[in-house]
C-alpha cells in the first residue's frame, strides 16, 4: 500500500469516526462539539502515558476511551437535556479551556507539542498496519452499533426528540437520560480517536485540535446527510480526497468550496445527499431483488 494511501485511509477513518461522534448526539439535535476537546485531552494523556511512563499503547488507548467517556458523562449530567445552543457553547468553551490548559503544561510539551511517539510494534510498517487495523475495526464496530441504535427504540426516541422535544416528553421519553447516553458514547468515541490521531502522525500539537476540525466534521455530516450514518461514510472520503486531486490553483480555494458546498446543500438538499428516504429506498429495492 502506498504511504499516501495509508495516510488518506487513516485520516478518512478518523474523520468518519469523529463525524459519527457528532452524528449520534445530533440525532436529538445536539451539536456536541466537546468531542474535539475530548480528542485533545485523551490524545495528550495517552501520549504522556506512552512516552513518559512507558505504558503499552493498547492500555493507553483504552485509557483514552475511558477518559473521553468519563468527561462526556460528567458534562452530560449538566447538559443532557439542555437547549441546543447551550450544548454548542459548552463544546466551544471546552475546546478553549483545553487548549489553554495544555499550553501551560510543560510535561506534555506545552506550546511546542509532543514529538517522537514510538512506532507500535517496533517498525513503521507494523505501526501502519496496526493503526489502520484498529481504525477500520472501529469503523466497522461503531458503524454496527450506530446502525443498531438507528433501528431500535432508542433511535426512534432520538428522532422524536429531534422533531419535537415537547411531544417526545409527552410520549414518555426521558430526554435527559437519552442525552447522557448519546453524549457519553460520543465523547468515548472521540477520546479514542484522539489517541489514534496522534499516533497516525506520531506527534501531538495543539493545532491538531482546533475549530477547523469542528468545521470539517460539520461539513461531512451536513453535506453527506445528517439523518443517517451512511452520509458520513460517503462524504468523509470524498470531501478529504477530492481536494487532494485538485490542481493547486483550485486547491487554494478549498475552504471557499467547502463553504459554498455546505450552503448549497443546506438550501437545496437540507437533509444532505444521503437522506433517510434514499436509504429506505435502497434497502427496499435490494430486499425486493433478494425476494425475486
Amino acid at each position: 500500500m502506498s504511504l499516501a494511501l495509508y495516510y488518506y485511509l487513516s485520516i478518512t477513518a478518523v474523520n468518519i469516526l469523529m463525524s459519527w461522534a457528532l452524528y449520534v448526539p445530533y440525532r436529538m439535535a445536539h451539536l456536541h462539539f466537546i468531542t474535539v476537546a475530548n480528542m485533545a485531552i485523551s490524545g495528550y494523556t495517552a501520549g504522556y502515558l506512552v512516552m513518559a511512563l512507558h505504558v503499552p499503547f493498547t492500555l493507553a488507548l483504552a485509557i483514552g476511551f475511558l477518559l473521553g467517556g468519563l468527561i462526556g458523562y460528567l458534562v452530560s449530567l449538566f447538559i443532557g437535556d439542555a437547549p441546543t445552543f447551550a450544548v454548542v457553547i459548552v463544546g466551544f468553551t471546552f475546546i478553549t479551556i483545553t487548549r489553554t490548559v495544555i499550553e501551560n503544561m510543560p510535561a506534555v510539551g506545552g506550546t511546542m507539542g509532543m514529538f517522537g511517539l514510538p512506532n507500535i510494534g517496533g517498525s513503521p510498517s507494523v505501526h501502519r498496519f496496526v493503526i489502520l487495523g484498529i481504525l477500520y475495526g472501529l469503523v466497522v464496530l461503531v458503524g454496527f452499533l450506530i446502525h443498531r441504535f438507528d433501528h431500535c427504540s432508542l433511535g426512534r426516541a432520538a428522532s422524536a426528540v429531534f422533531v419535537d422535544k415537547d411531544l417526545a416528553v409527552s410520549l414518555g421519553i426521558d430526554i435527559r437520560k437519552l442525552g447522557i447516553l448519546l453524549q457519553t458514547f460520543s465523547c468515548t468515541l472521540a477520546g479514542g480517536c484522539g489517541v489514534l490521531y496522534g499516533f497516525i502522525y506520531r506527534s501531538y500539537h495543539l493545532d491538531f485540535f482546533t475549530f477547523h476540525l469542528v468545521g470539517i466534521t460539520m461539513t461531512i455530516i451536513f453535506v453527506g446527510g445528517y439523518a443517517t450514518m451512511w452520509g458520513t461514510v460517503l462524504a468523509a472520503p470524498l470531501l478529504y480526497g477530492i481536494p487532494l486531486l485538485f490542481p493547486p490553483e483550485i486547491a487554494s480555494w478549498r475552504i471557499v468550496i467547502y463553504g459554498a458546498l455546505l450552503i448549497l446543500v443546506l438550501v437545496l438538499k437540507p437533509e444532505g445527499f444521503i437522506t433517510r428516504r434514499s436509504v429506505h429506498c435502497v434497502e427496499a429495492f435490494l430486499s425486493r431483488r433478494q425476494k425475486n
Partner: protein, 294 residues
C-alpha cells in the same frame, strides 16, 4: 486603585465591541429569526470594503463609510433569503440550520479576505478614522476618543433599537413578520417591503459597527471576526437570546471581567476564567440571565 480603574475602563472598551456586535446579532434574531454566528465576520468584511474604498479614493471618509454600510446591507440582503430557506419552520428559531449556514458563510468570508485583500495582510485605517488621541490621561488611566465613541454609540444603538422595535409601529411590524409571517400578512403588513426594510436596517447597523471598530481598533485582519464570534454568541445566550438591554449589560460585564483577569491574573488564563463563568451561567440558567425575548 488607579490600576483597577484603568482596567475597568479597558474592560468597558473591550465590552463595547461585544455590545456592538451583540446588538447587531440580536437585531437579526428579532427581525428575522436568524442566529447569525458569522455576523462578526460580516462586519469585518464591511471594514475591509471601507478600507479598499479609502485606498482607492485617497482616504475619502464619506465614500468609505458609505461603501462599508452598503456592503453590509448587500450581504444581508443576499444572505437573508438563504437563511429563510433553510429554516424549517418560519416563526421559530432554528439554531441548527442557521448556525451551520452562518458557519459556512463565516468560512467563506474569512478565506476570501485572506486570499484576495491586501495579500492576506492586516489592514490599517488612516489616522482620520483611527486616531488614538487620549481624551483623558491620568497616570495609567487613559480614555481614547475611539473608546468614547464606540461605547457611546453602543449604548445609543441599544436604546434606539429597543425603542424602535418595542415602541414603534414599524418595529412591531418587523417583529411580527419574524415571529408569524402568516399572521402579519393577515393584518395587512406588507411582507416583502417590511422584510427588506428590516434586513436593510440590520445591514446599516453592521456598517456603522464596522466603522466604529475601525475607529477603536485601528486595523483589521481576516481572522478578527472568528476571534470574537464565539464570545458574541456566548454573550447573547447568557444575556438571553434577543434581549437587547441584557446584551448591553452582559457585554460590558464580560469585557470588564476579561480585562480584570488579564490585568491581575494572566492573559492566557483570562479566557479560561471568562469561559468558565459563561459556562456556569449557561448551565445554571440556559434561558439567559435576563430572559429570552423570542
Amino acid at each position: 486603585m488607579q490600576v483597577l480603574i484603568a482596567q475597568i475602563i479597558n474592560g468597558l472598551s473591550l465590552g463595547s465591541i461585544y455590545v456592538l456586535l451583540v446588538t447587531g446579532f440580536n437585531l437579526l434574531l428579532l427581525v428575522a429569526m436568524i442566529i447569525h454566528f458569522a455576523y462578526p465576520q460580516v462586519v469585518v468584511f464591511s471594514m475591509y470594503i471601507t478600507w479598499v474604498v479609502l485606498q482607492l479614493t485617497g482616504n475619502n471618509i464619506l465614500l468609505g463609510v458609505l461603501a462599508g454600510v452598503g456592503s453590509s446591507v448587500l450581504l444581508n440582503l443576499i444572505s437573508a433569503p438563504l437563511f429563510q430557506k433553510v429554516m424549517k419552520n418560519r416563526g421559530e428559531v432554528d439554531i441548527n440550520s442557521t448556525m451551520v449556514l452562518s458557519l459556512a458563510m463565516g468560512m467563506i468570508i474569512t478565506d476570501v479576505l485572506s486570499h484576495s485583500f491586501n495579500r492576506g495582510l492586516p489592514i490599517a485605517f488612516p489616522e482620520q478614522i483611527s486616531e488614538s488621541t487620549p481624551v483623558l490621561r491620568i497616570g495609567l488611566i487613559t480614555i481614547l476618543s475611539g473608546q468614547v465613541w464606540s461605547l457611546g454609540v453602543g449604548v445609543v444603538a441599544v436604546t434606539g433599537f429597543f425603542l424602535l422595535l418595542y415602541k414603534t409601529r414599524a418595529g412591531r411590524a418587523f417583529r411580527a413578520i419574524a415571529e408569524d409571517p402568516s399572521g402579519a400578512r393577515l393584518v395587512g403588513i406588507p411582507l416583502l417591503k417590511t422584510g427588506l426594510e428590516s434586513y436593510a436596517l440590520t445591514g446599516i447597523l453592521g456598517g456603522i459597527i464596522a466603522l466604529l471598530l475601525a475607529t477603536l481598533l485601528g486595523s483589521a485582519s481576516p481572522g478578527l471576526g472568528e476571534q470574537v464570534a464565539l464570545k458574541v454568541l456566548a454573550v447573547s445566550i447568557i444575556a438571553g437570546l434577543g434581549n437587547l438591554p441584557g446584551g448591553l449589560v452582559v457585554g460590558l460585564l464580560l469585557g470588564i471581567l476579561e480585562a480584570v483577569a488579564q490585568g491581575y491574573i494572566s492573559g492566557t488564563w483570562s479566557n479560561v476564567i471568562a469561559f468558565v463563568v459563561m459556562l456556569g451561567v449557561i448551565l445554571m440558567k440556559p434561558s439567559g440571565l435576563f430572559g429570552t425575548k423570542l
